[in-house]
């Protein structure tokens, strides 16, 4: 302790923050929970499914704002999308020297982040199209009105989409298809992400999950 680690505490500047800042952590687990809940657990199109989707919109929006105004390692500029660097990073995992440390997400992880965000945006966008961008509050209000015998809430909507007809149904089917494909792709990417964290943790001999949870408490 006295001597052998003169730079203890400063040497961490090259590695990602430990722990990650709270907004990155909370939004990460919030989105993860929302994706798992809506991808695997809730009834598609159900009220809960829509509620969770809207919560995900809010979390994603806050995280994207954070990508502009947050600390250096949380900002988009710290992990620009760079497919070539991503590939060379993945290859370096299998070379004797092992991967290099990066101050934020490594290039491969950065590509994963953008891929997941893109999937999220597609899933959210198609979800909004399918529900006419009505928040769950409005949906339940309308359902309550219909249940009470007041069908006028539905008339208004039909009037707006009148030009559509069969064409509207077909595009609705397509939107639904895109929603499901993007959602499944996101679940697969999430699995790849988890595998990537495991491989990278092993290569760096460092637990990469801890900084995303609470920090490693490595300060002895």
């Amino acid at each position: 302790m006295a001597g052998p680690h003169p730079e203890n505490g400063n040497g961490g500047a090259i590695a990602p923050p430990d722990p990650w800042d709270p907004l990155v952590r909370f939004s990460h687990w919030g989105i993860a929970a929302a994706v798992i809940a809506n991808g695997l657990l809730t009834k598609p199109g159900g009220t809960l499914h829509v509620w969770i989707g809207w919560v995900a919109i809010g979390i994603l929006a806050a995280r994207l704002v954070w990508g502009l105004v947050g600390p250096a390692e949380a900002r988009f500029s710290a992990f620009p999308p760079d497919p070539r660097a991503a590939i060379s990073h993945v290859l370096s995992l299998f070379r004797p020297g092992g991967p290099r440390e990066h101050p934020s997400h490594n290039p491969a992880a950065a590509m994963m982040v953008y891929a997941l965000w893109l999937c999220l945006v597609v899933v959210i966008g198609t979800g909004l199209v399918m529900t006419d961008a009505k928040s769950p509050l409005q949906i339940s209000q309308e359902r309550a009105a219909v249940a009470a015998g007041d069908w006028s809430v539905l008339v208004n909507d039909d009037g707006e989409s009148e030009g559509g007809g069969e064409d509207h149904d077909e595009s609705g089917e397509l939107v639904k298809e895109v929603h499901e494909v993007a959602a499944n792709l996101m679940l697969i990417l999430a699995l790849v992400h988890v595998a990537g964290v495991a491989v990278e943790s092993r290569a760096l001999r460092r637990n990469l999950v801890h900084p995303m949870l609470l920090g490693s408490g490595k300060g002895r």
């Binding site: 003169p6 203890n8 800042d21 709270p22 806050a62 600390p71 961008a133 928040s135 002895r220």
Partner: protein, 168 residues
């Protein structure tokens, strides 16, 4: 000690981060409602006030994010200063140990003694007999020119206080 210093300022930062996320969620719901109302007719007082509230909500998210970022960078600065202070103190101790000509084993024992471990604990940590540790401590005190552990520890406390102690 490390754990408690790590905790400084982290709870408020986490609370603020959670607040920003909740703000984002609230804004998503409110703005969608406002957008719906606006699409049905612009210009009435209600839609205008909803538009205004939406803008305030979004501005609030940016402001809280900015505040959070400042808070996080302050925590980082504090941690860095603390690490430097800790590193410097460790260096002071190491230099002093070298000056006294302590052997590697004695340096170890001396450091444990400074951290407040008693003879039995040091012996257990080093896998040595308590008699050995006691003999090593005696040799350390002799080399340092002090007669007991309190004086030994005071030697370094004095070092810390040398410049900063207020006049009494």
């Amino acid at each position: 000690m490390t754990e408690t210093t790590r905790g400084n300022g982290r709870t408020p930062a986490a609370a603020l981060a959670a607040f920003v996320l909740v703000q984002g969620i609230a804004a998503a719901f409110f703005i969608s409602d406002a957008a719906h109302d606006l699409s049905h007719g612009f210009g009435n007082m209600e839609s205008l006030s909803e538009l205004f509230i939406s803008l305030v909500l979004v501005a609030g998210i940016f402001l809280a994010s900015w505040q959070l970022r400042r808070m996080i960078s302050e925590i980082k600065d504090k941690d860095r200063a603390l690490a430097v202070a800790r590193g410097n103190f460790a260096r002071v101790i190491a230099t002093q140990f070298t000056d006294w000509g302590l052997t590697p084993a004695e340096r170890d024992v001396g450091l444990f003694a400074l951290k407040g471990l008693d003879v039995a604990e040091i012996a257990a940590l080093r896998g040595a007999a308590t008699g050995t540790v006691r003999a090593q401590l005696a040799r350390i005190y002799a080399k340092a020119g002090v007669s007991n552990r309190a004086q030994f520890a005071a030697f370094f406390v004095e070092e810390l206080l040398a410049d900063g102690a207020p006049d009494t």
